[in-house]
Amino acid sequence: MTLEEAEFAQRTEALQPRLYRTALLYLGGEAPAAEAVAETVYRGFLNRKKLRHPEFFSTWMTRILMNVCCDELRRRKRETAWEDLPEPAAEDYDPLPLRTAVERLPDEVRAVIVLRYFTGLTLAETAESLGIPPGTVSTRQRKGLALLRLDLEEEGF
């Protein structure tokens, strides 16, 4: 069973706010987040017939979104490659407001923190969305929480 166009439209509409908020926190800035969601919806539309298990629609769309966001971050890095700054030390995060601190996390750590503690995905869903093993998700979320000095449950939050 694949996703018909009308059903795709209906499910996408329901999911769109969550996709937008995820992109907003991951990329920073309304315009890039809106562009990332528009690109995600486009790629999802083109590929919807490949989704053989529609019950995984939201994880599948989140995975597309994260791919699109990674493309955007790579594009930004490409343009500023020789201006890259070293990763901040752990103590540098302490005085920052939480939102700014999240935005300053290394990309791969920020992706896990955003999906786990803002989008509300489970550990397994986060692993599926990012195409990485669950163990890697655990490692990155521990690192992210430590950098943010945020004492949250690591499992089942």
């Binding site: 937008y20 908020r21 528009a38 999802g44 539309f45 791919n67």
Partner: protein, 474 residues
């Protein structure tokens, strides 16, 4: 405030973030974009770009130290670095200061267009430009003319409106691909037509059409140009004369077919192998896998985004195949290695489809299926499925063109499809299901009165040589 409390407040605010108006009708716009994907084919002359567009998201960027240093010498090359990142030829040109500065600007209605640089040689001109101002609701397209204003017979690719203010974009113009001009002319006029995005108006994009009311046969109206930028460009003679040619004139056998290797031409912007098939062959050559290697083992790259082959209207075969250049290598020896390619078998070129039954009696090329056909009055649709390519995944589609734009009626009359669309489930009440491992392409036409239609297929099978065919260039 404690971190935990701060987190809870941030989460609460995050959950209430409203959706921006830019995402209104997002699905409808995605559908339009998917269906429009294959429209607008009238660019250029006789040209084949095989698999180029599919590589648009597969960017492998290597900002090497010499390249970064070269970028430092040319004022705005930070932006230019992104524009040439896809092409090792253009990167090498920048590293070698092989760039003609232009610096012409024009401003209309608060939008400024600047033509920054040219990278050109005997066969190709790459025009680099950028916009500043608000163009969020605009789209644009380039056009090339001669200095007197007559349309130029040439092929071109690229030429989009930038996504961000100041971002450099590029249009590549090729000469000698079957057009009237065999070489880069001394001057050309570069026009850039600005129009509203998606047929919108000054009040914004037109409203979305509900799924059930969408008519795939409806032809989108051509939006009126708001204004057109026009730049007269003088092309430096020193750059225009650049290029090396190696005559081979050597017959080789590829997968049982005889091919005459004619020349290998190496220009700063690309490298092209010209060849010709024996008329007695049973297949036409449609794509060629090859590389150039020098005495150090260095190999050139395939083109990942742009023109990869060209031909003429006289034959379905491609006569020239392009790759990234080795022009700046300064090698002592160069060899050509051919490793494979793609044929169109002469007996599989044409496939006649019964539009009432959605079937064909002709054999279809390898990897292509006929999904069916729809006939509603004189509205016609033929649904084709093509096997997906390597690199295709459940979240990223790699498609290629399956059939030609020209088709024929049973009386031999020549017709042309209005559009080739993808992402269509339902057409005229009929539902189609794309098989696993395939993508769908639907060819649509209005005003066609017949019940059968003959398609022209573009390729039939790939081949890989056990041992590469080689030829020494120098």
């Amino acid at each position: 405030m404690e971190r935990r409390e701060e987190y809870e407040k941030l989460l609460e605010a995050w959950n209430e973030t409203p959706l921006p108006p830019a995402l209104d009708s997002c699905v409808g716009r995605a559908r339009k974009r998917a269906h429009r994907r294959r429209l607008g084919r009238d660019w250029g002359a006789v040209l084949a770009s095989l698999g180029g567009a599919a590589a648009a998201f597969a960017l492998a960027v290597n900002l090497s130290l010499p390249f970064a240093l070269a970028c430092g010498r040319i004022p705005i090359l930070k932006e230019m670095a992104a524009a040439v990142a896809l092409s090792s030829s253009l990167k090498a040109a920048v590293e070698n200061d092989y760039v003609q500065p232009v610096g012409q600007s024009q401003t209309v209605n608060g939008l400024t267009m600047t033509v920054d640089y040219l990278i050109l040689d005997k066969k190709q001109v790459n025009i680099f430009y950028h916009f500043t101002g608000d163009f969020s609701s605009l789209s644009g397209s380039p056009e090339l003319r001669d200095p007197a204003g007559e349309r130029l017979s040439c092929s071109y690719s690229g030429g989009g409106l930038a996504e961000a203010s100041g971002e450099i974009h590029q249009v590549s113009v090729s000469f000698g691909d079957g057009g009237e001009l065999s070489e880069t002319p001394p001057a050309l006029r570069f026009l850039y037509r600005i129009e509203h995005l998606e047929n919108g108006t000054e009040q914004g994009p037109e409203p979305d059409v509900p799924v059930e009311e969408y008519d795939p046969w409806e032809k989108p109206a051509t939006p009126e140009a708001l204004f057109t930028f026009s730049f007269d460009l003088e092309l430096n003679e020193e750059y225009r004369s650049q290029g090396l040619s190696y005559d081979l004139n050597e017959w080789v056998e590829l997968d049982g077919q005889r091919i005459l290797l004619k020349t290998v031409e190496i220009y700063p912007t690309n490298l092209r192998v010209e060849l010709e098939g024996d008329p007695a062959n049973t297949a036409w050559l449609k794509s060629l896998d090859f590389y150039i290697e020098d005495e150090t083992g260095r190999r050139n790259d395939p083109i990942t985004n742009g023109i990869t082959a060209s031909g003429t209207t006289n034959s379905p075969a491609m006569g020239a195949f392009y790759q990234e250049s080795s022009f700046f290598w300064n090698s002592r020896h160069l060899n050509l290695y051919i490793t494979g390619g793609q044929w169109l078998d002469k007996d599989q070129r044409f496939v006649t489809v019964d539009l009432d039954t959605g079937t064909t009696k002709d054999p279809l090329p390898e990897g292509i299926l006929l999904g069916g056909a729809v006939r509603r009055g004189t509205n016609t649709a033929v649904v084709l499925y093509g096997r997906t390519l390597e690199g295709d995944s459940d979240t990223d589609l790699h498609a290629y063109q399956l059939a030609g734009w020209t088709c024929w009626g049973p009386d031999g009359s020549e017709w042309s499809f209005d559009s080739m669309q993808s992402g269509i489930d339902q057409i005229g009440g009929a539902t189609f299901q794309t098989p696993e491992g395939y993508f769908e392409e639907t060819c649509l036409m209005t005003g066609y009165p017949q019940s059968t239609l003959t398609l022209e297929m573009l390729q039939s099978r790939r081949f890989t040589l056990d041992r590469p065919v080689t030829a020494a260039l120098k």
